[in-house]
């Protein structure tokens, strides 16, 4: 292809993408309206707020949690989250003795319906190569110190099957409503590279927010 030629000035990805898009639109293959629609969906609708609702419900409702761990895909679909890159979901539960973390060593597989599109670091060579051989060290770089007695399980996702980590419900969140619990759940806590928020900190920041 011409853009690989060493004698011509480099062709930017923007130019290459525009060439493809305009050609496909002209041929009647690609619908410009559909392009905007799908981009908007992933920029505004599908993201980790979905996963946070799943986690919060599992914390609040033991029956739901049992269903979620037994058949992740079906339990997640109960909340209306399903579809591409979430066709076969497995939920792995963090406990006082086990910490789970997910990766896609081959590419970028990620549970889109519950987490949206992955951050760049998740798709990067350093994360993909290292988390499977030195997970404890990698998690430390994320600011997550897992005690030596806690087992770390690394789940390598693939194109058929995607994992979601169910983080532990934090102390201090007793009696919280599901919507409040969801505010504690971070994206990284569902990948396994982060913790949920501290309820005390969240209450403090919210009260500050309403007072100002």
């Amino acid at each position: 292809m011409s853009h690989h030629s060493r004698t011509k000035p480099p062709v930017t990805p923007a130019l290459r993408a525009k060439a493809i898009e305009t050609l496909l639109v002209e041929k009647g293959i690609l619908d410009p309206g559909a392009i905007d629609e799908i981009v908007q969906l992933f920029e505004t609708k599908i993201g980790p707020r979905n996963g946070a609702k799943v986690v919060a419900k599992a914390w609040a409702d033991p029956n739901y949690k049992a269903r979620l761990l037994r058949d992740g895909t079906a339990a997640i679909a109960e909340l209306g989250f399903s579809g591409i890159q979430g066709e076969d979901m497995v939920v792995v539960e963090n406990t006082p003795t086990v910490h789970n973390v997910t990766v896609c060593t081959l590419c970028s597989c990620y549970p889109w319906p519950v987490l949206g599109l992955p951050p760049t670091w998740y798709k990067s060579a350093p994360y993909r190569s290292r988390v499977v051989i030195e997970p404890r060290k990698v998690l430390e770089e994320f600011g997550l110190r897992i005690p030596a007695e806690v087992e770390i399980r690394v789940w390598d996702t693939n194109s058929e099957l995607r994992y979601l980590v169910l983080p532990m419900r934090p102390e201090g969140s007793e009696g919280w409503a599901e919507e409040e619990l969801a505010d504690l759940v971070t994206r990284d806590s569902m990948i396994g590279t982060g913790l949920v928020l501290n309820p005390a900190t969240l209450s403090w920041s919210q009260s500050k927010g309403t007072a100002s």
Binding site: M1, S2, H3, V11, T12, P13, A14, L15, R16, A17, K18, A19, I20, E21, T22, L23, L24, K27, I29, L30, D31, A34, I35, D36, I38, V39, F42, E43, G47, I84, V103, T105, L106, C107, S108, G116, L117, P119, T120, W121, K123, S124, A125, P126, Y127, R128, S129, R130, V132, I133, V138, E141, F142, D156, S159
Partner: protein, 104 residues
Amino acid sequence: MNSIHDMGGMHGHGPIVRDESEAVFHEAWERSVFATMMLAPGYGLWNADESRYGMERMPPGEYLETPYYVHWLHSIELMLLEKGIITVEELTARIQALSAEEAD
């Protein structure tokens, strides 16, 4: 396939660089590439496995040096050309025309 994409356990890739405030798409062309890749299976152009195979056939050096959505772009170009949906001549001419427009 044993290739550069099979990264689990590889050494030498350095520290993990994170940007906590990053947007879903960084630049406009990423949106275009994402949408094209996502919509194509609906138009019967290719399936997800083919598109992944397209990325895995990227030259290893290029795979390591380019940002993520360039992997997608590479795969899209490869599939469109291989399937004869777009010809090399068409693509080259269009890139030249767009390039000339930009230079004006």
